[in-house]
Amino acid sequence: MKHRIAIVADRLGWEERRLIEAAPAAGIDAEWVNDESLGLGHRDAPAVRDHDLLLIRSRSYTRGGLAATLAEADGARVLNTASAIHTCENKLALRAVLRAAEIPVPDFRLVLSRKDYGRALEELGAPLVLKPVHGGMGKRVALVRDPDLAHSLYDYVEDLGHAFEQACLAEEYLGGGSVRCLVIGREIAAAAEFESAGTDWRSNAALGNRSRALGQDPEVRKVVDGVVDLLGPGIYGVDLFRTPDGYLVNEVNHAPAWRGVDSTTEADIASSVLRYVQEVLG
């Protein structure tokens, strides 16, 4: 019997369109389900009742975790799991559990106030990166090279309206490049190194920076295995920093974009994701 899956998102982007196009060949019926009108909270919610699996592709950190939690509680199969999404959606919580599991991460501090910020500057020194605990795509991530500018920057953080937007993570600056690994199940389906393109120090794929494919580096493999052991198999974008002492985990995206690695490597990510979905459905 053909499996029916819901691609849960507020809209279809490049990745979701590829999934829908590749689904028939994988023997899957995939349809978009709007994450702003799921009506979850009971087992007869159509999103739960009418689908064999919910693939959570919400760009919204708020919606993705909540939808996964309720759908899972009501008996739906959900990818990624609610537990994995909740661990990844908060950069600080993720850092804490990775560090507790002895997976290498950059040195960091939680910044909830100007006092915290001052202490982080003293302890980590400049240059330092300040970024929101919730968020992604490089938004509001600031590189503080100059201690004179540091406190002026914090004026803008204080002006943000909500406490959750003011919660920040300060970390040591480790250079302008990162390695993005697209994990499907337990395997690294593609890996590419992103470098800032010169006009912006940030190296996020979402900011359109340069990338090149990487082979299967055993050191990368070891770190990624540790992350997957902790979160459980799933579909993740694992961002690593390369340092002279080895790779450090920057963050893990639970609804990763893959247009960047797809164009850098020969990998057909959409088909690989759908094969994994079939594997999960059994």
Binding site: R11, L12, R17, N34, S60, G135, M137, N253
Partner: protein
């Protein structure tokens, strides 16, 4: 699927003709520049709804 689909911008009422597109995808109205999402497709006709360009808690 038809070679082109048509719809009307719900904000400025401009008639739009676009290449094949599926439910959930977005497009920009060339007249008023709003981001529109395809809610439904009936034959060659698009049902469009205005959406935020980007939510405050987006990340990937």
């Amino acid at each position: 699927m038809p070679a082109t689909l048509t719809g009307t911008c719900p904000e400025c009422e401009t008639d739009l003709t676009v290449p094949p597109i599926v439910r959930g995808e977005t497009l920009s109205c060339p007249e008023c520049m709003l981001t529109l999402r395809v809610e439904d497709i009936d034959g060659e006709r698009l049902d469009l709804e205005m959406v935020e360009v980007q939510l405050r808690d987006w990340g990937q």
